[in-house]
């Protein structure tokens, strides 16, 4: 696996969070950084979260500072019921542009981009083929804002791939997702006691289970597979068949002509049918999923099994509702768990960058920063303000030396740039200042200096870290 330092955009989307959790399990992954404009919704162990604006304008600094080699973009909004068209456009088009800009450039460290897109790319039209393959383009211009956004975003990705031939670009087009945890317009529709459908139409549907979505993204991170891939479970179901599998009654109450108008009263009742879903309710869509299977990916669920699992969830949901507390992200708690020396961490890892050694390194840096701080102002300070941590346990590996209380300048010089970078976020302004001064005076590694300057500027501006 070539990907070791991974950036996930859209960490707070369902997919971003699930993918980060899956990647945390892999030991060969060194660093996972997630960015989003909202708090993560899943519990993360070592993935780090950085809050950014919806436009992802400052992403380049993060990419450089953490020398990211793989960017997974799971942020695309493909369901217009979840947000306003304007925000969706901002996120899908402007956000994609900025993320691609952060990955490009001659000095970029990014070697792989995985982009999560949607089968809305193909649209739903009368003269569609029964199975879309990846090389087909949609025969008609997009009709809905979301489809337009997706097309624009994919065009930007294609252009990026052309201009950065050394970067491996994988683009995944997912069909409709079902599963117990994910919320889409379709899960809402199928949760209704009676499922409405358009009179005289029985559209084609393919579903992919939420677990398969995460595995597909992980598959792309683990292997270098440039290109476009459709992701959809085996089997094309008819809408009536889906309702049958779910044990729901269906009612052809939407008229075939003027369907959009007839949806207005339904909207009153709380059912929002987004415009891009109307095409699906009329014609549906089939995808050819064989290209992804040819790369060795195996689906754990067919479309039918996905629907059956979802049906089980629908029946179980009223019984178990409210039993499990939703996860709530709190920065202070996360930082404490990750960085505090008081936290007893489980089994000592043997990797050179185990959590234990992270704390050691951190102590080392802090100690040095204090010393440097001593040198610059004439006021001498007898002891570093950091309390002496617990007596050093038997070192698991000899890679890191015993931190002496004395001047650890030599150790600082031994540290790799990325090791320093990974610790900077836990220091505060005076320490950072001191390190910056030292770094400028000595090795002046551009990555370190830039990261330090960025962090300092942000802290001075009072922005939340």
């Amino acid at each position: 696996m070539n990907s070791k330092r991974i950036l996930i955009t859209g960490l707070s989307t369902y997919w971003g969070g699930r993918l980060a959790q899956a990647l945390e399990e892999r030991d060969e992954v060194e660093a996972i950084v997630g960015v989003d404009s909202e708090d993560p919704r899943v519990e993360l162990e070592r993935a780090e979260f950085v809050r950014v604006g919806t436009q992802h304008a400052l992403l380049r600094r993060i990419v450089e500072a953490a020398s990211i080699d793989t960017v997974v973009d799971s942020r695309l909004v493909v369901d217009s019921a979840t947000t306003s068209p304007k925000l969706a456009h901002e996120n899908n088009v402007i956000g994609t542009m900025n993320i691609l800009a952060a990955c490009s450039g001659p000095s970029s460290t990014v070697r792989k981009l995985v982009f999560k897109s949607s089968s809305h790319y193909y649209g739903c039209e009368q003269d569609d083929p029964a199975f879309f393959t990846e090389s087909m383009v949609r025969p008609h211009a997009p009709r809905t804002p979301i489809e337009r956004d997706i097309l624009e975003a994919e065009a930007a990705v294609a252009e990026f791939a052309e201009k950065n031939p050394e970067t491996s670009v994988s683009l995944l087009r997912f069909s409709n997702v079902l599963g117990p945890d994910v919320r889409t317009s379709h899960t809402t529709l199928f949760s209704l006691p009676v499922v409405p459908m358009i009179l005289g139409f029985d559209p084609r549907y393919m579903f992919v289970h939420e677990d398969d979505v995460v595995s597909a993204l992980e598959h792309m991170v683990a292997h270098d597979l440039p290109g476009i891939y459709n992701v959809a479970g085996d089997g094309v179901l008819a809408f009536t068949e889906v309702c049958g599998l779910l044990g729901k009654t269906y009612a052809p109450i939407l008229p075939p002509w003027g369907t959009g108008l007839a949806l207005a009263p339904l909207r009153r009742l709380g059912l929002r049918v987004p415009p891009e879903m109307l095409g699906q309710l009329r014609f549906g869509r089939g995808l050819d999923n064989r290209k992804l299977k040819a790369t060795g990916f195996e689906y754990r669920h067919t479309s039918r099994e996905t629907v059956l699992r979802f049906g089980e969830h629908l029946r179980l949901h009223p019984v178990v509702r409210g039993v499990r507390e939703p996860y709530r992200y709190e920065r202070e708690v996360e930082e404490f768990l990750r960085w505090s020396p008081s936290v007893r961490r489980g089994a000592e890892g043997l990797e050179p960058l185990s959590p234990h050694q992270f704390t050691e390194l951190e102590r080392l840096l802090r100690a040095y920063a204090d010393r440097a701080g001593v040198e610059e102002p004439p006021v001498p300070e007898p002891r570093p303000p950091v309390p002496e941590p617990e007596p050093p346990e038997p070192e698991p590996v000899a890679a890191e030396p015993e931190p002496p209380p004395g001047p650890p300048v030599a150790e600082y010089d031994d540290l790799e740039a990325e090791e320093i970078l990974s610790l900077l976020s836990s220091l505060d302004a005076p320490d950072l200042d001191a390190i910056l001064g030292y770094e400028r005076a000595h090795r002046a590694r551009p990555t370190v200096v830039r990261a330090l300057e960025g962090l300092l500027a942000r802290q001075r501006a009072g922005a939340p870290r």
Partner: protein, 303 residues
């Protein structure tokens, strides 16, 4: 369909940059791989991936088709052995009758007379997918939209039989006085489809369908009003209402399957001249056989 035409010719793939870039880096996927990776059959399902329902098809087969095939049209079949017993093949037939009975009768003939009864996939206009009611029913009885990608998948990947009417609606909307005179055979897309898939073409001639539902006139204004493909005046339609669509006259049906045509060479479909030559050749063979069959027929009703 938006522009009102259906062609089996695959449009030139536009420059999808990302796909092309990826192709340069990955080893090409072989055809066999894609065939092997077709989704498996789930026996619990009532529909297949094309939306075909064995239940509804079987019901139609036992009632309506059976009645028309055996007692109403009294179908007479020759040359059924020309349809291969395995592998894909493209059946090409003439087309007539306002609501054409020929497709159903050819499918029924294959089930009844062929030593190894095979399912037939009938290509239809995209129009049917967009018209309420038809959209629901048409796939369930084994019809697929005449899209080149659909035909390629059926013929090459799934190795099935596909029936195509190259005349399309030009054949069914033609008036009674033009009977048994073949219209233009599209733009040769069907030959290209068969060549690309590497399957033989079996020409089929149907005599009797023209008289079963003669079209006397076409009402352009009513066609636009109803949104149908065309609005014909037949002996029973429109004055007997929608059921008049099924008001066939009891003409005697004769179905003749001609010798299969195999194409040779590597990628013959890229040679446009050859495609056109074969399209004309196949059209001529069907036309000649039709004239011969009509000439030998003593009575429209008794054959």
């Amino acid at each position: 369909m938006a522009n009102g035409r259906t062609s089996l010719r695959l449009p030139e793939p536009p420059s999808v940059r990302l796909a092309r870039l990826a192709l340069e880096r990955l080893p090409a996927t072989r055809d066999d791989d894609l065939r092997r990776l077709l989704p498996g059959v789930e026996p619990e399902r009532r529909l297949d991936d094309w939306g075909r329902s064995e239940r509804i098809e079987g019901l139609m087969d036992r009632t309506l088709y059976e009645f028309f095939y055996r007692y109403w049209f009294r179908c007479e079949v020759e040359g059924i052995e020309n349809v291969p017993a395995s592998g894909g093949a493209l059946l090409v037939s003439n087309h007539s009758g306002a609501l054409p009975p020929d497709a159903a009768m050819i499918a029924k003939a294959l089930r009844e007379e062929h030593p190894r009864p095979r399912e037939l996939n009938i290509t239809v206009e995209h129009f049917f997918k967009g018209f309420p009611g038809f959209s629901m029913l048409i796939p369930k009885i084994g019809c697929v939209a005449a899209h080149p990608a659909n035909v390629q998948r059926l013929l090459h990947d799934e190795e099935k039989l596909v029936l195509v009417f190259p005349e399309g609606r030009k054949g069914t909307e033609k008036l009674y006085r033009n009977r048994y005179r073949l219209r233009r055979f599209g733009r040769g897309g069907f030959v290209e489809a068969a060549m690309r898939a590497g399957v033989p073409v079996v020409p089929v001639c149907v005599v009797g369908a023209e008289e079963a539902m003669p079209v006397f006139a076409q009402m352009g204004a009513l066609q636009r009003l109803t949104g149908l493909l065309y609005f014909p005046i037949t002996p029973t339609f429109p004055h007997l209402g929608p059921l008049g669509m099924l008001g066939y006259l009891p003409a005697k049906f004769k179905i003749r399957f001609l010798e299969p045509i195999h194409f040779e060479g590597d990628n013959p479909h890229e040679d446009k001249a050859q495609v056109q030559t074969w399209a004309h050749e196949i059209r001529a063979r069907i036309q000649d056989n039709l004239y011969e069959m009509v000439a030998r027929r003593r009575s429209v009703w008794f054959g």
